[in-house]
């Protein structure tokens, strides 16, 4: 196996482990809504929440990087440029993640000084990691970009998919720099923070996973490169054509001028279009190939990606994106419902698909099938959809009782949180969270055990060094 693919396997394994930490921290956060005394005094809610959302960002990022390192030698026929640096930085990345997690759990907070932001935590959602760790992530991103772009230069050839990925590396590195500054003015802070969250996570990541899925479709179904690249360009045009100004739906209420209500509402309402295209593409390809593939779990996770992205990101996003409704739904569990579905559909399913693709080649399996992955697939997707539905019920109750009727004061907030429909949603979310956790354990077991008792097949041809 090439050095790039060995590194890919390490990244994918680290991603799956962090996926478990994210699930555990998510369960802890869910328990807090049912029993506020849970771990109070030891690990407060905000620490559990930080661990939940930050590990989500990191495991997905590691999953993307694993996927790219897996496909790079196949696309270019050579080892990536600077692979040695990537190999070193993997361990630096892992050590930094462990150190930051320990700081979050055991230190938790510091005095209100710049030193705290450098050493302990920055206190900005999704990018809470202290600056020293953020510098490390930026360095990892920089080397990752060098690996992709440098390999294209080294190979003296480029494919359409890799051209899109290479160009995408520029905003992927630059937008992450927004993780560093401390901006006193909350309105300005949130303005740029949304560039990080929306344009980095929801645009550059969307393009990156689009490229990864394009490569996966060629691998899984043998779809022609011409078709895949055509669709990828359509997706880029639609994602960025609607998403760049769709950013405006985050600017409704942060102090920005009211023209964002119209611009953000209009363009974000169009954002489901590229996701619908993805579903059409997936169904078409699956139909053409009569659902036949040598890697059933990878194929089904790809389908889950297409449908999950459309439903979670597109439909559930559209539900709350128009300002007339967002005024009430904003900042409630309704948003959380959309967030869970969108991240799962848009990114997590795609990473899991690549895990099975890599596993097939690493263990030299002719086919990947069995019942283990089916259980994991059903439990994870069933648990996730259950959580999303539960949060939707809770969020609607909150939007109605706290925002629309109550006026969002402390008293209204408490009334909303104590509403029986809200609490029903919280209990139900925890129950489905347990189902999701069971799915994770099944997935982890399946990924580690799958094919170990099968007879090894002839390995696939390796790329030229």
């Amino acid at each position: 196996m090439s050095r790039s693919k060995s590194l890919a396997v390490k990244y994918l394994a680290a991603a799956v482990l962090l996926f478990g930490v994210m699930t555990l921290a998510g369960l802890a956060s869910a328990v807090y809504y049912i029993n506020p005394d849970f771990l109070f005094g030891f690990v407060p809610f905000n620490v559990a929440k930080i661990l939940h959302i930050d590990t989500m960002i990191i495991w997905l990022l590691m999953g993307f990087m694993g996927a790219v390192y897996w496909f790079l030698p196949e696309e270019f026929g050579c080892e990536p440029a600077g692979i040695w640096a990537a190999e070193i930085l993997f361990w630096v990345f892992v050590a930094a993640v462990l150190a930051v997690a320990a700081i979050f759990v055991f230190v938790q907070w510091g005095p209100g000084t710049e030193t705290t932001l450098w050493l302990f935590q920055q206190g900005r959602k999704y990018v809470e990691a202290p600056r020293w760790a953020a510098i490390g992530v930026a360095l990892v991103m920089l080397v990752f970009a060098w690996n992709v772009v440098g390999t294209a230069l080294k190979a003296r050839r480029i494919t359409g998919v890799m051209a899109v990925m290479s160009v995408n590396m520029v905003p992927l590195v630059l937008l992450y720099l927004i993780a560093f500054p401390k901006i006193d003015n909350m309105a300005v802070d949130l303005y740029w923070w949304w560039w990080l969250v929306h344009l980095w996570v929801e645009a550059t990541w969307e393009i990156l996973i689009g490229c990864i899925m394009a490569l996966a479709m060629m691998k899984l179904l043998g779809t022609s490169r011409r078709i895949v690249e055509g669709w990828l360009y359509v997706e880029v045009a639609l994602v960025l054509g609607t998403g760049i100004l769709g950013l405006g739906h985050h600017y409704f209420w942060i102090g920005t001028p009211d023209y964002w209500l119209g611009i953000g509402g209009f363009f974000s309402a169009l954002e489901p279009l590229p996701l619908l295209g993805m579903v059409v593409h997936a169904v078409y390809d699956a139909g053409v190939h009569r659902m036949k593939t040598s890697n059933q779990p990878a194929f089904y996770w790809t389908l889950a990606e297409a449908f999950g992205n459309f439903l979670g990101g597109g439909v559930f996003g559209f539900m709350i994106t128009l300002p007339q409704l967002n005024l009430f739904a904003h900042g409630t569990q309704w948003t959380v419902s959309h967030g869970h579905f969108a991240f799962w559909g848009a990114y997590a399913c795609g990473v899991l698909s690549v895990c099975y693709i890599a596993l097939q080649e690493q263990r030299r399996l002719v086919t990947v099938n069995g019942s283990g992955w089916v259980w994991a697939f059903v439990l994870l997707n069933g648990g996730l959809i259950g959580m999303v539905g539960s949060l939707l019920v809770a969020g609607m109750a909150q939007a109605f009782f706290e925002r629309a009727i109550g006026g969002s004061t402390l008293e209204a907030f408490i009334a909303g949180q104590e509403n029986p429909w809200f609490m029903l949603g919280m209990y139900s979310r925890f129950g489905f969270g347990l189902m999701f956790a069971a799915g994770y354990l099944t997935l982890a077991w399946n990924l580690s055990a799958l094919g170990r008792r099968q007879v090894a097949a002839v390995p696939q041809p390796m790329p030229a060094e």
Binding site: F45, M186, L190, Y191, L240
Partner: protein
């Protein structure tokens, strides 16, 4: 131009991205001007010396902050540099304690605690002044922030985050300034409805 030629869609992807990026850049320049302190939507930091309220604007059809007569924090007016220093310190406190991972600011953050956009204006502080033995809203907020574990609100408690008096004063100044920002009517009819009635 054949639609099944990837080059056609590549040209579309590039041109669409360039056009949208230019429009975003132009809107960003205008928005940053509007949300700078003293801009059309965000008052200067010295607004903490004034009375701040939130009322329905019938002409615009939405709620808006109103800036009234002098009403300095703790009865002492501050000049612009001191106000800026308070806001800077307040933001550092908010970030160093990861407030946004329990609360929301302008609806952004986590949903375990209440939204803090208009927390300065919350009618609950009247009752909290009595509970904490404070003579003013700002003093009640300071006492609560310094020892939230002593003043449990309901089943969910805020942990003691070791906030010093200076830090608490700066945080209260920050929340007062935050309440003065024109957020296009979010949250709607804040404080005009009493749930318990």
């Amino acid at each position: 131009m054949p639609f099944d030629d990837p080059a056609f869609w590549r040209a579309g992807a590039i041109s669409t991205t360039v056009v949208m990026s230019i429009v975003l850049a132009m809107l960003t320049i205008d928005s940053l001007e509007a949300i700078a302190p003293g801009g059309s939507h965000v008052p200067p930091y010295t607004v903490i010396n004034r009375h701040i309220d939130y009322a329905h604007n019938a002409k615009l059809g939405r709620d808006m902050p109103t800036i009234g007569q002098d009403e300095p924090l703790f009865g002492r007016a501050v000049e612009a540099p001191e106000a800026a220093a308070l806001i800077e310190r307040g933001k550092l406190v908010i970030q160093s304690r990861a407030c946004i991972d329990c609360h929301t600011f302008m609806g952004n953050g986590a949903y375990y605690g209440p939204d803090l956009t208009k927390a300065w204006l919350d009618p609950a502080w009247e009752a909290w002044a009595a509970i904490t033995g404070a003579e003013s809203r700002e003093e009640a907020m300071v006492r609560f922030l310094m020892a939230p574990d002593q003043y449990a609100t309901w089943q969910r408690r805020m942990p003691n985050l070791g906030i010093s008096r200076d830090e608490a004063v700066a945080t209260v100044a920050y929340l007062k300034w935050l309440a003065s920002i024109d957020t296009n009517g979010f949250p709607i009819h804040f404080g005009r409805i009493k749930v318990s009635e």
